[in-house]
């Protein structure tokens, strides 16, 4: 197992880092020459070069961070609401849970296409509804207007991944002790107070884990953006940027530099999370 993991994870990663220090191109990987930090940052003839000077790269960093911040917050909020509703004893609950699982089971590409169709500027249902309700005066180009594109990506992502959040939180809610709630009811405490004083503190560890997982996953987003808003720097994420350099522009060195930067960003976040979560886990082990 370790050998397999080394072969498919550690080795390619090491090669990527190496490529990022060379001038490799996709057509001829073997001819790569070592160029040091040139792909990251270089100063030549009075001008700066490299990924770190590329405004498109910084744009993609900004896009990714906004995307992560907004969509993970929305997913957490909506996921929590969904989990609480799923916890309540209502008729047809299995049916509701099945409906909630649906977006999760759908391939991301399919959901990207579906939202592309719903948000279509001329024939999309969303524009049609908004027009007939009178909220907008003319059709909006959700997937082409620079101001709206990131919003469209976020909507599609929230739809797709809220179920994941809801299920994790539901699992946490199921483990809560009942006697606290009984006591609270006997004392006649308002349900909202109960939620903020009992439920929320108790599921906090699970909530943090779920948020971190989603955030790390959202940081590397690629497929949704690639399909829903192709080739637009207004929504380009760090992964999309790196792949474009690597494959479309065939510049393996430069693209590898970008992916290495993304890798270290995520590694840093993961390490921080592990260090912060250690005290809570130490209690259990």
């Amino acid at each position: 197992m370790l050998v397999a993991l080394l072969a498919v994870a550690a080795w390619p990663l090491a090669r990527t880092v190496w490529f990022s220090l060379t001038d490799a191109t996709l057509a001829d990987l073997g001819a790569a020459r070592f160029v040091g930090w040139d792909n990251y940052l270089a100063y030549r003839d009075g001008e700066w070069f490299g990924v770190l000077t590329d405004p498109v790269w910084w744009r993609s960093v900004r896009n990714t961070l906004w995307f992560v911040l907004i969509s993970v917050s929305l997913e957490t909020l909506l996921g929590l609401i969904t989990a609480l509703v799923l916890l309540a004893r209502i008729p047809a609950r299995p049916l509701l849970q099945a409906a909630v699982l649906l977006p999760w089971a759908i391939p991301t590409i399919v959901s990207a296409k579906m939202w592309g169709w719903l948000l279509h500027d001329q024939f999309g249902l969303v524009n049609d509804i908004l027009l007939s309700v009178g909220l907008i005066a003319r059709p909006l180009a959700w997937t082409a207007d620079p101001d709206l594109m990131l919003g469209a990506v976020i909507v599609a992502d929230v739809w797709k991944t809220t179920p994941f959040m809801a299920l994790l939180l539901l699992a946490a809610l199921h483990t809560l002790p009942r006697d606290c709630y009984e006591a609270a009811r006997v004392d006649g405490i308002h349900p909202v107070t109960v939620f903020f004083r009992i439920t929320l503190p108790l599921i906090r560890p699970a909530l943090i884990v779920a948020v971190v997982f989603r955030a790390l996953d959202a940081l590397r987003i690629f497929d949704l953006i690639y399909v829903l808003t192709p080739n637009s720097e207004y929504t380009m994420s760090m992964s999309v940027y790196a792949r474009q350099q690597l494959v479309d522009f065939q510049d393996v060195g430069y693209g590898s530099a970008a992916s290495t930067l993304l890798f270290f960003t995520i590694a840093l976040c993961t390490t921080l999370f592990l260090m912060l979560s250690r005290p809570t886990q130490g209690g259990k082990a």
Binding site: M1, A4, L5, V8, A9, P12, L13, A14, R15, T16, F19, L29, V85, I90, L95, L96, Q97, A98, A99, V100, L101, L102, P103, A105, I106, T108, I109, V110, A112, K113, M114, W115, W117, L118, F123, L168, L170, A171, A206, V209, A210, L216, R220, F222, D223, Y226, V227, M238, S239, A242, R243, L246, V247, G255, S259, L262, F263, I266, T270, L274
Partner: protein, 274 residues
């Protein structure tokens, strides 16, 4: 009175959630049954049932081959991950050695890898092995996605199993393989099943590697084929075909998910240690 009101509110909320979750897929299914100009009218109920789009994707595109490819890739990845994952989980959950915690954390870390970070290295590896544009290359690269997660979940489940039976087996002189096969596997079957299912869905849905490591129609997997479906001209997107293809590949996944709801929920929960 206020109780009744809050009940009503709860039902309303449940209704909204169900609608929001299911509607986009319903609308895609409706669209896939329309043909010609009807595609651009926004009916919420199907007025006629046209199967033209479904016929078209199988007749005009090698969509059947694509589905078979996806199926083989996912099945292969699941079998390899489960086999490797089981033995690794055994070693990790039963032997106490130095750095075990670190190793577990590394494995969890790998599952958070941005795929694009290994893209160029993986590309080189796959070309070197002669697997470029072959589904074998995809199987190999998908291990990076499914393996860490399989090990993690199986180790979590395995730690919950009692040690006594295993110790008795060791006393009777059973080797590690016998122990895994005869002692662990039977109670672990549900866990194996849910992990396998999750790994299958992950492999079925993967896009970045599939897009980069395949070149021709005949080797593509489902997500790539759908993403690259194009119309007669550059400016015409065949929405009917896209929706038909989407529904075709989603229905099996949805059926699986609906049948095995409970197992998926427990697998997901174990996967994140909650």
């Amino acid at each position: 009175m206020s109780r009744g009101l809050s009940r009503a509110g709860l039902y309303l909320l449940a209704g909204i959630i169900a609608l929001a979750a299911a509607f986009p897929f319903y609308y895609a299914a409706i669209t896939s049954l329309k043909s010609g100009d009807a595609l651009f009218s926004m009916d919420l109920l199907p007025r006629q049932w046209h199967w033209d789009n479904y016929v078209a994707i199988f007749a005009q595109q090698p969509f059947a081959t694509t589905i078979v490819n996806s199926f083989w890739v996912a099945t292969g990845v699941v079998s390899v991950s489960l086999m490797l994952g089981l033995s690794a989980a055994y070693a990790l959950s039963r032997n106490r050695f130095r750095g075990r915690r670190l190793l577990m954390m590394t494995i969890l870390g790998v599952s958070m890898f941005p795929q694009v970070a290994v893209l160029s290295g993986m590309f080189e590896l796959i070309r070197w092995l002669g697997l470029y544009n072959r589904i074998g290359g995809l199987m190999l690269s998908y291990l990076i996605i499914t393996l860490p997660f399989t090990v993690w979940v199986l180790a979590t489940f395995m730690r919950r199993l009692p040690r006594e039976v295993e110790e008795a087996a060791i006393m009777d002189g059973a080797g590690p393989l016998t122990i895994i096969w005869r002692i662990f596997l039977p109670p672990l079957m549900p866990a194996m099943f849910s992990t396998g299912l999750l790994a299958f869905i992950a492999a079925w849905n993967e896009f970045l590697f599939a897009l980069t490591f395949t070149l021709t129609h005949e080797q593509r997997t489902v997500p790539v084929a759908i993403a690259l479906l194009s119309g007669a001209s550059e400016y015409e997107l065949p929405w009917g075909h896209i929706m038909a293809a989407s529904v075709t590949v989603t229905v099996p996944a949805v059926v699986l998910v609906l049948i095995f709801q409970r197992r998926i929920v427990s697998g997901l929960a174990a996967g994140t240690g909650t």
